[in-house]
């Protein structure tokens, strides 16, 4: 155990910091879920990141990455969050599908899909859930029928993040007649393919953050299937491992929020309310604990371990700490908590509303607790 950065890691941090200082837009971009303009502005930012090869630093160089390790990725994320750089509109691709593609994809698939993913030329949406398959994801009914060197897709997907403006989606489809975890395949479909209809759905804050997708005889090349036919469930669980375990919520954003909360307390806090101050301290502790846990996980992965069911504890912890942190901010703001923030100010109220999604998406926290109880603790199903 050595909890100090090497000189190389310190130099890397300095390099990231300098590049971001020179390149992060001075004016915040419109949110990528708020409008097509906001989405395209974020796409241009992804292209800017690509000019410095910062799209996804852990990927191999030939696919647009830098071949760095997870500690360097964490340092990059820390500097990225410190710099207040734009949100990653491509996160479904770069953080979730990308690592899965690198693990399960063919050479040709990696060459076709990873570079435009890293550059933002292709922004990905996730198409897993269906109206009758949410927490019970193995209940998906959308079908893929093989026809020569193509698949014909039919079905109804919903709650697809980014799908309102994205270019392409990765979805879970089953062979007709198959049941539950068997017969599923993970298949990519461009959202402008004939037969695809995308209906945006407004989120709780009014943004079109997700959409429902209708597929009617949508024809895609068999090349778009990731892994083997019928391997879809296994691949989805690997993706969910990345999602819950490490990449979806890097700790830096909570540490930035905890620091902003401490500043808010210094300026606006009431020293006669020690209980509220204790909540400010607790928010900082939670963010630190999450960061330490992720450093520990990253170190273990570098040493050859793999992510197991303990990934589910991460998802519970970050989602709950996020809500607690933002509720504490609203309590400090008191009568002004309800006000929408001024442009450029820390958006406590919108971030609070967003935090309420945390316990729901990427597998509800109830499902995560089942996974912990059954797979970590060994309680009976």
């Amino acid at each position: 155990m050595d909890l100090a950065y090497t000189p190389e890691q310190q130099a890397f941090r300095a390099e990231v910091r300098a590049w971001l200082a020179a390149n992060v837009p001075a004016e915040p971009l419109d949110h990528f879920d708020a409008s097509r303009e906001g989405f395209e502005a974020h796409r241009r930012w992804e292209a800017t990141l690509k000019t410095g090869d910062w799209g996804m630093v852990t990927w191999p160089k030939e696919y647009g990455g830098r071949g760095l390790d997870l500690i360097q990725w964490l340092i990059f994320e820390e500097e990225y969050a410190r710099a207040g750089a734009p949100g990653r509109v491509g996160q479904n691709g770069i953080f979730l599908l990308g690592p899965t593609l690198i693990e399960f994809g063919t050479q040709a698939q990696k060459e076709r899909f990873l570079p435009p993913m890293a550059s933002g030329e292709e922004i990905w949406a996730q198409a897993w859930s269906e109206p009758q398959a949410g927490s019970d994801l193995a209940g998906v009914r959308a079908t893929a029928v093989r026809d020569g060197d193509a698949y014909v897709l039919n079905g109804h997907k919903i709650w697809s993040s980014r799908a309102a403006f994205a270019d392409i989606a990765f979805g879970l489809f089953r062979a007709p007649g198959s049941e539950r975890h068997k017969g599923l395949s993970l298949i990519f479909f461009p959202l402008d393919t004939p037969g695809v209809t995308v209906n945006p759905i407004r989120k709780i804050n009014g943004h079109v953050g997700f959409a429902e997708i209708f597929l009617e005889d949508v024809r895609v090349p068999a090349f778009n299937r990731l892994g083997d036919e019928g391997q879809g469930w296994h691949i989805c669980m690997a993706t969910a491992g990345f999602e819950r375990g490490l990449m979806l919520r890097s700790p830096a954003r909570y540490q930035v929020a905890a620091a902003a909360l401490a500043d808010l307390w210094k300026v606006r806090g009431n020293s006669a309310d020690p209980a509220l101050e204790a909540d400010v301290v607790r928010a900082f502790m939670n963010a630190e604990a999450y960061a330490l846990s992720i450093y520990r996980t990253a170190s273990a992965l570098i040493a050859g371990a793999s992510i197991g069911p303990e990934a589910s504890t991460n998802k519970i912890f970050w989602s709950e700490l996020d809500i607690h942190l933002h509720r504490t901010a609203l309590a400090i703001l008191g009568p002004e908590a309800e006000l929408l923030s001024e442009p450029g100010a820390h958006d406590w109220i919108d971030d609070y509303i967003f935090s309420l999604a945390g316990p729901i998406y990427a597998g509800s926290n109830e499902i995560q607790r089942n996974i912990i109880a059954e797979r970590m603790l060994g309680l009976p199903r």
């Binding site: 155990m1 604990a289 309680l379």
Partner: protein, 341 residues
Amino acid sequence: MDFTLTEEQRMFADTARALFADTVTPDHWRRMMAAGETRDPARWAAIVESGFTQILLPEDAGGLALAEIDFALIAEAAGYVALPDPLVESAGIAAPMLASLAPDHAALADPAASIAIQHPANPLVADADSAAAIVLHRDGQAFVATPDQVRLVRRESIDPFRSVFAVEWDEATPLGSADWDLALDRGAVFAAAQGLGLAQRAIDMAVAYAKERQQFGKPIGTYQSVKHMLASAQVGIEFARPVVHAAAAQIGHRDVFSRARVSHAKIVALEAADQAARASIQVHGAMGYSWEVDVHLLLKRALALTGQWGTPAVHRARIGERLFTRPTGPDTTFAREYDHA
């Protein structure tokens, strides 16, 4: 940057777990409680034989000169069995302090000798009666005495394996000024490590019971209300452990950052122990409220340790000092006060 334990550290922890699993069984607990004892000579001999009493002592005092992170793993294993004997305070806190003040003291020359310590954070002294030496505190100065040189008034702890005393004394051998903050840090981080062990034991006992106990025709562990309660308690452990290990690894920095981390570890690990112990009692139902089921031993030890080596309020204040007076943000997770010193 490497947050993994070494092979040697993992082996050490395995040795401790195996030794305690053999020598602190529920039968041992029951026999000691029936006899009103807090120490077991045969077990202590095995502990001494393992070298655990000399881990933190310098080599010239016959010690292994290992670090707090090494001892923290042993303290975690001790917590898992609610170890009655005074290993953690003696070898983890009192012995290294005495070694720093009086390296030639006779109590350090005998690996089987236990040493007790009085600290301004703790009004009472644990295991003072059986100690070969008691490190004493007065006005920031350290003194040392043997039990027969002081007046010991036994106070009854709700934890049947904690033997605590009010210590009154007039004369003792002066040792000069001492680093009571370092003693507090060690006490807090090893209490936290014990908390991790207590918490995991409480959950393991609840899981074993929930698999066996049937109601409405199936094991109670199949019900989601039971599953989710235990899963939440496990989340508490998972996000306390990295803090405890980092705190133990960084304790030598002895700055505002490292002290805040020790305090963080102390608070969350004992909260995890309390949450797990109460969940375990609830899962055990009326059995959990009985003297016959051992889970109450875990609850009581967690309760006792929560108040020792700094209360949650004391530790929260130390974290607040770090948070409100030092740089904060994602680049400060491993910050040191004197990076270039």
